[in-house]
Symmetry: C2
């Protein structure tokens, strides 16, 4: 080993879902939205100007739009390069203590990557056999709590009272609620922000707003938490969101009719798809997200995953304890989900299931 | 103090130059380029599509374009959200040792912010009285070396032999050369990458490529360094560069004629402006960047800074030891620099200097 190699920080990076170059595949593996963003976005992009100048480092225009949309003050809104950027900054900002941060054993698999990167101690209480979070596991002393609600990859949403109970038992550490999928049927904790000064709610434009390609996430919390988060962000990079991104994000927030209409389409698709999948022998919890997390009563998940891929249909498979016989299937268009159903019928017949 | 506040990481954030909302000001305070980016950029933005999908997390298209442009392999190129993102990641990746990282007392003022944020020990050898880096100061054992070349805010460029000497005396730690301003007349260390496996050269699109608003930076180094940097990046955020950013950056790299023509314009402006400023009683080293760092033989820098602002001309003033009687003045268009000269002539007459 070279001397300089000894000073390199060792990590095990997060592995994102595959992004195949072939645009003909049916891509149900990264929870992207099958519909394009608001047509206003394209108009805005064609007219973005003044790229020679730095963007506003405080991103006031977008923070104001989000504050107004959700009924908060601009000082209660933080924005970043996708919710991953917001969450990474939040881990670095709020979890600087000695006690372990708590998050479920089965949840968004970036949480433990950030904890390891920043040397944050953590524990992962197990979901129960129905993949539900056991709230009593979060009553013990800790350095922070992170709950994805709806949870990923389970797609299970918990009630706002459930989150309130966790907050009532956690007044001494920051509680992050990651609401990446909330628009598809979850209950939001935003209504608790006024009463719980240690609550940070995180959102993304990548799923319900069809803007994964523009990297936009945000957090809402009381202004002391937002100020601390902003201080860390301003200690890493003054300008994280491009001028184009800011304009596009504002356009998306303002086009609420488009947003509601397309979220509803995905929910409708999810409902008939869920019904047909159950009829084909899959079992899974009701989804509050834009995906289902399902296992078949006979066929093996890894086998289905590989067979689907050969047919140009990408879903997500996690080769991890407890979930290695499940598939996470993103809800696409009606046509895409019909293709998946057709594939799975063929597959099950051929496999004799 | 609330219990949860005890776990918040304490930092002193970097303070970027002011971004006034009034678009009528003459903005010579953040080293932005006065010319728009290549017209190809606007075309590209109007046609960016598929924003519902995540960008390529490996950003192969842009890394390939940069590799080709500079004569390297794609595996030797890393890209990020401005060179600040690249540098912040590099500090986190490479400076995980116990010995102090070395960078000058007067240099880009983000270096100590990153070191403090990530708990990296550091020392800042003093520039000499001519604001030159003393290379012998970098011969001692260290955990890393960071040299901005040309340096900021001094605008002084050192030769490639100077950098080579520092590398020859530093085989045991990673040496970062920050070449944000190199295109305006500096000597690049890129030619040393093949021979020095511990050298990381960092660049930005924010200055010479007129794309500050799109946040694009990159690093070139041997593939082991790039792989380590990429592992850290992939442990924070899989997708940092927007789909729009990637396309815009590639378009900029491909339009080399536009790039060369506009860099030359700025150098030409700098040369006549420098001559006139010296005739007016300012002294400063020859600039290898798109700014000068000057003091007047009679007038006080802070006073000039404030007076200029009341006339709608923004320059940069650092209230810091050794440099608190200097102004950093970005090179704008001929017309903008003529306005500055007119202002300063009036100011000096009125002030009786």
């Amino acid at each position: 080993m070279k001397a300089w190699e000894a000073n390199i920080r060792k990590v095990t990076p997060y592995v994102p879902g595959e992004q195949p170059k072939d645009s003909n595949v049916i891509k149900l593996n990264t929870n992207e939205n099958p519909y394009p963003p608001s047509p206003k976005v394209k108009e805005i992009l064609a007219n973005v100007d003044n790229l020679r100048k730095y963007p506003d480092p405080e991103v006031v225009k977008l923070r104001e739009a989000l504050a107004k949309f959700h009924g908060f003050d601009t000082s209660e809104v933080f924005v970043g390069v996708g919710s991953d950027d917001v969450l990474a900054n939040a881990f670095l900002t709020f979890f600087n203590g000695d006690k372990p941060v708590l998050f479920p054993d089965i949840t968004y698999s970036f949480y433990d990557v950030w904890a390891n990167l920043y040397n944050i101690p953590y524990e992962q209480p197990a979901l129960n056999d129905d993949f539900r979070i056991v709230k009593e596991d979060y009553y013990k002393p800790n350095g922070g709590v992170v709950i994805a609600n709806p949870n990923a990859p389970t797609a299970i949403g918990e009630s706002v009272d459930f989150i309130k109970d966790i907050l009532d038992h956690n007044q001494e550490s920051v509680v992050i609620v990651d609401e990446a999928y909330v628009d598809f049927g979850g209950e939001t904790a935003l209504c608790l922000v006024k009463d719980y000064e240690n609550l940070l709610v995180v959102r993304t434009f990548s799923k319900s707003r069809s803007l994964a390609g523009m990297r936009i996430g945000y957090a809402i919390a009381n202004k002391a938490l937002i100020a601390a988060l902003n201080d860390i962000k301003q200690s890493i990079n003054s300008y994280t969101m491009t001028s184009a991104t800011i304009e596009v994000a504002v356009a998306s927030v303002l086009d609420n009719d488009y947003f509601n209409e397309h979220v509803k389409k995905i929910i409708d698709t999810r409902e008939w798809f869920s019904k047909e999948m159950r009829e084909l022998g899959f079992s899974f919890a009701d989804s509050s997200a834009n995906f289902i997390f399902a296992k078949h009563n006979k066929a093996n998940a890894a086998d289905i995953f590989n067979a689907a891929k050969t047919k140009g249909i990408y879903v997500r498979y996690f080769n991890k304890p407890r979930i290695n016989n499940y598939l996470r299937i993103t809800i696409g268009t009606d046509e895409e989900m019909r293709s998946f159903i057709d594939f799975i019928k063929d597959y099950l017949t051929t496999a004799g299931c």
